[in-house]
Structures are given as C-alpha cells and as structure tokens.
C-alpha cells in the first residue's frame, strides 16, 4: 500500500534543481576550493595590494584572488585591507548605514538543524505562529521606533507556507502608525523575507505580494558538514537550498540575498563558498546578490553545537572575513546583525558593512512581549526569552541609540527604500552599483529619511548629533558635480523642504 507523503516530503522538486546544474554538477567544487586556498597561502604584499586596487575598481574578485586575501596575516597589510574595504564601501554606497528590523512570525519548523533553537526535536522551544492581528501589532511597535524596513522570518512548516507569508506581508504593509514626536505617521515601506527555499510557483506568490529582497542563507557551503548539521527535513537537501535564489530569480524576484552561518565550518571555506554563489548568480542571471550576511553562531536553546563547535569564529577573524567579503564582492550590500556584541558590531560597521538591524527582538511575538514586560516591571531594555527565539542577541540597543552611535562615527543613518520604488532593482541597480552611481542616490535619500527620523522619532541627544551630520552631507551634496546634472539638486532641495514642513515619504 502506498503511504501518503507528508507536506515536508513534497517540498523538494528535483527538476527545479537539475535545470541549474552544469553537466550534472553544482557550482561548489570542494576540492577546487581547497586547492585555491592551498596554492595561494603565501601571497606577496604587492599581489595583495594589486588585488585591493581591483576591488577599488568595483570588480568582482576571482577565487584565487580571494584565497590570497584570506591568507594575509601581516598586521600592516590587514590594516590596509580594512581601510580599503571602507573606501570601497564609501565609493559604492557612500557614508550611509541602512537600518531594518526583523520580525519573526513563526517558530514552527520541520527541520532538525543542530545549531538552531527552532529545530523540531527541541522540546524547550515554545512553539507559536502569529495571527495577522499579532503581526500588525508587532509591526506597529517596530514602526513606532522609526523603522521603515523589515525582514520577516519564518520557520519551514506547512502552517507558515507561502500563502501565510503573503498574508503576513500584506498585514505588515497595511500598518500606519502615528510617530511619537513629529507631525508625521510612519509605515513599513519595504519588506524583505527570510524563508526556506521554495519552488518557483510559490516564490511567484511572494513576488506578487511586493517583497523587497528574498533571503536564504546556505549556512555552510561544505557538503559533508552540511549533511551532519542538517540531518533531516527538506533543509537536509544541500542543492535544493543552494539554488533557492536561482529559483527566486526565475520567479521574478530580482533582489536576492545570501549568507553563511559562520562557526559551523571553516570560515575561509565559507567566504569562498559565498564568492562562488555570487559568481554563479552573475553567470546565470547577470545579477549578483543584493546583500550578503555573515551571522556568527551564537548560543541557541537546546543546541550543543551552538556553543561547542570547533569552528567558532574569533572577533579578529570576523573582522577579517567581513573586510574580505567587502573587497571580494564590492557592489554587494553587507549586513551585520545585532548577534554581535556592541563593540564588535561597531568595529564591523567601520570596515564596509552597509546595513544593520537595531532594537531587534527575535522572539515570536517578541516586540509585544517585551513591551508588556517593560510595563509590568518598569525595566529598561528589551527582553529576550531564549525558549521563544532562534538564538540569543548580544546587542540590544534601541534604534535611537544605534543611530546616535553611527552619528558619533560620522555615519548617516538611512531609512531609504527609494531604489525599490524607482525601478532601481535587479540588473538596473547592479549597473548603478558597479558604476558607483547608486551611492549618489543613497546620499540624497539618506538625508531625506534621516531628517524624517530626527523629526519624528529621535531623542534630543540623537538630534544634537544628527543635525550637524545633515548639514555636512548637504554641503557635500551642493559641491559634488554629479548633482549638478539636470535638475537633480533642485529636485532634492524641493523634497527636503517638503520634509522639513512635515510632509513625509519623499524620495529620489
């Protein structure tokens, strides 16, 4: 008698893997990566400097070049790499840091990932899936902080399928919330999604719901390790995950994001894996990843691997790998999360990261719970409940504090969602990033959205730091030849004036 397949057993569609393979092989050739790491382990200084020059020309590095950077141990040369990484970032993205908030909708999961609190065998985890009313409430709290971008996260489960995701996205987009200070009201203007790999027809549903970026992390590119840490469930299929972003591209989602969970396997190998991923997306679609993330393994409920892995990455190596990613894929956004300790987080922001979350709560219903807890016990800061979240956060500063911190470093915080609303997506934005033109728009939109934040959400201390930054940015904009083309500068000033007068959501 034929037994009926479970939902999880029906997730993978082999033909939606096979169509992307080259002569039956995927793009991760482990032996080739090990050979590249071995053959480039003693690069001379001049070669490293030549590679850095190539990065400054905003060109994707090749695997041998990246392997050479990974071998650098010389302290002076490392300092040069950090400085060059920041220069590359400023050239492509200017001086801004984009903020977003995560929203975890469900921790129901059919997988068994050894590093994750959501894994199905974890009986310590309190399982929950948010209703649409709860999603709207969570979104209201996030919006009241001043966020304009969210990434919605789902465990892989029948109940949090693509249809549930679509409803969640619509619910979050529908929220409009009065801002605490100014005359304006806020809303989430761009929703990105972090969800399990899906078939193309399901991804099309997300596309039609108006998502920004679709994000899937490979976790580890090393196949034997992948097999060990993903023992069962759809996630145990390495290639299904490896081609998740390819299917998204075919579904029309032209902003895709990759990442690896550092600490599961050797960090140098993972950097090479991320590079090969970017290269294959470029080869097959002409569009590289919109962002790359590099979360580091942090303690998770019921996960021994999350504390005992022999590949845990030190702060020093973390800094190095971020700089190398910046140099390797110069046009791509780099996301640093508040899994990092505040000091490390700040250090990583100054070597080329472009985005971060802030005031994050990753428990299911965590923003609402934290608000209730605060009201009850009158304590400051957010509350983390280990049994309701995927892992533990190390930096729980509020968005206002984080914006202030970036201001002290001379960086402008941006809540820009303009590119996504002006057709600067997919190959269009890739072209603008590679030619260093997108950063010019980033600069303008950063000023417009920073001003909104300062007026509507910032504390007095943050405003004190923020307004001189706006003045400095406005001076630079006035002087830069790029903005003298056409009516761009006049257009910008006009929009800025509207914002100063209390109107909202102007962008270029």
């Amino acid at each position: 008698m034929e037994t009926k397949k479970t939902w999880a057993e029906q997730v993978i569609k082999q033909d939606e893997i096979d169509k992307y393979l080259i002569n039956g092989n995927d793009f991760i050739d482990e032996q080739e990566i090990f050979r590249q790491l071995e053959e480039n382990k003693n690069p001379d200084k001049q070669r490293i400097r030549d590679i850095m020059q190539k990065s400054l020309s905003i060109e994707l590095l090749n695997p041998d070049e990246v392997a050479s950077l990974l071998a650098v141990e010389d302290e002076d040369l490392l300092q040069e790499m950090y400085a060059t990484a920041l220069k590359v970032k400023q050239k492509v993205y200017d001086n801004r840091i984009v903020f977003f908030a995560p929203l975890y909708c469900s921790n129901l999961c059919v997988n068994s990932c050894l590093y994750c609190g959501f894994r199905k065998e974890n009986t310590e985890e309190k399982r929950r899936i948010l209703t649409m009313d709860e999603i709207r409430e969570e979104t209201r709290i996030v919006t009241r902080e001043g966020h304009k971008r969210m990434i919605i996260v789902f465990g892989e489960h029948e109940r949090s399928n693509a249809d549930y995701m679509v409803e969640s996205i619509k619910a979050a987009y529908s929220v409009q919330e009065k801002s605490p200070n100014g005359p304006g009201s806020g809303n989430i203007r761009r929703i990105n999604v972090n969800a399990a790999p899906m078939e193309t027809s399901e991804l099309k549903k997300l596309w039609k719901a108006g998502i920004g970026t679709y994000q899937v992390f490979q976790e580890t590119y090393h196949k034997p390790t992948y097999k060990v840490v993903h023992p069962s469930g759809p996630k145990s299929n390495y290639q299904w995950r490896l081609y998740a972003l390819h299917r998204a591209m075919d579904a029309g989602i032209d902003d895709v994001a990759t990442g690896a969970l550092f600490g599961v396997y050797d960090w140098k190998f993972e950097v090479m894996g991320l590079l090969y991923h970017a290269m294959d997306l470029e080869r097959q679609f002409g569009i590289g990843p919109h962002t790359i993330s590099f979360p580091r393994l942090t303690p998770a409920s019921g996960s021994q691997l999350s504390t005992d892995s022999k590949y845990l990455v030190s702060d020093e190596h973390m800094k190095k790998l971020v700089a190398i990613l910046r140099l390797s894929v110069p046009y791509t956004g780099l996301i640093c999360t508040v899994r990092e300790q505040p000091d490390t987080h700040t250090a990583l922001m100054t070597i080329g990261c472009t985005q971060t979350d802030a005031s994050s709560n990753i428990g299911i219903g965590g923003y609402t719970d934290a608000l209730k807890a605060k009201a009850l016990v009158q304590v400051e800061g957010s509350t983390q409940i280990k049994e309701k979240q995927q892992f533990i956060l190390n930096d729980t500063r509020s968005l206002d504090e984080m914006v202030r911190e970036m201001g002290k470093l001379g960086m402008i915080s941006s809540f820009c969602t303009a590119g996504y609303r002006c057709g600067r997506t997919g190959d269009k934005i890739m072209g603008l990033l590679k030619s260093c033109k997108e950063g010019k728009f980033c600069k303008l939109n950063a000023v417009l959205t920073y001003r909104e934040f300062l007026d509507d959400y910032a504390s007095d201390e943050t405003r004190e730091i923020g307004f001189p930054i706006i003045e400095k940015e406005m001076m630079e904009i006035k002087e830069m030849p790029f903005y003298k083309k056409g009516k761009l500068y006049e257009n910008f000033l006009d929009k800025y004036e509207h914002i100063c007068n209390g109107e909202r959501d102007f962008y270029i």
Partner: protein, 104 residues
C-alpha cells in the same frame, strides 16, 4: 531640443501596434517603444512593473541614471523618465499612447 513632431506622425498608435506585432515578448515591445520614444523625442524612459509599492525595472533605457519623473501609466506599469523636451500637450499625447499600449 524639441525633435518630437506629432504632425509628422512619428510616434502614433499605428507604430505601437506595429511594434507589438513584431515581438511576442512584452519586455521586447517595451524596449522597442522606449527606443522609439528616445529616437523621436530625445526623452529617455524605462518601464517598471508595479507590484505593491515595488517598481521593478523591466525594460527600456537602462542607461538612464538620473530620472526626473516617476509616472504611473497603469496599475501594473510605470515609467521613469529623463528630462522632458516636448511641450506638455505633446507629452500628454505620448503618455496616452503608452497607456493605450499597456492597456492592450
């Protein structure tokens, strides 16, 4: 610069019909229309597919780096344009033609 001449019928609904008959793919049609608009008026445009608040580039002048106008021409499509070199009346006629094509 004003090289768009309506009375010479450089850019008409008949031309749009011809373009749409030439290509089976919508994006190829839109590319051809954008080329024709550029050739006849000097105005750069690119088309975006509208999905919720997302405007996703789909066809047209990919070299248009500094758009000046963002115009919704239907529920599903919008255009970004460079500087407009024709009179308001002429530009309205062009937009009507684009809307006519998209609606078909």
């Amino acid at each position: 610069m004003n090289i768009f001449v309506m009375e010479n019928a450089i850019f008409t609904s008949k031309d749009i019909l011809e373009i749409s008959n030439q290509f089976s793919n919508i994006n190829e049609c839109l590319n051809s229309i954008a080329d024709r608009v550029k050739a006849t008026t000097g105005i750069s445009i690119y088309f975006c597919e509208i999905i919720g608040s997302r405007w996703s580039f789909c066809a047209g002048d990919i070299t248009l780096d500094i758009p000046e106008h963002r115009i919704e021409i239907s529920e599903k499509y919008g255009i970004m344009t460079g500087e407009i070199y024709v009179s308001e009346n002429e530009w309205t006629k062009i937009l009507d033609l684009l809307k006519e094509f998209i609606e078909k």
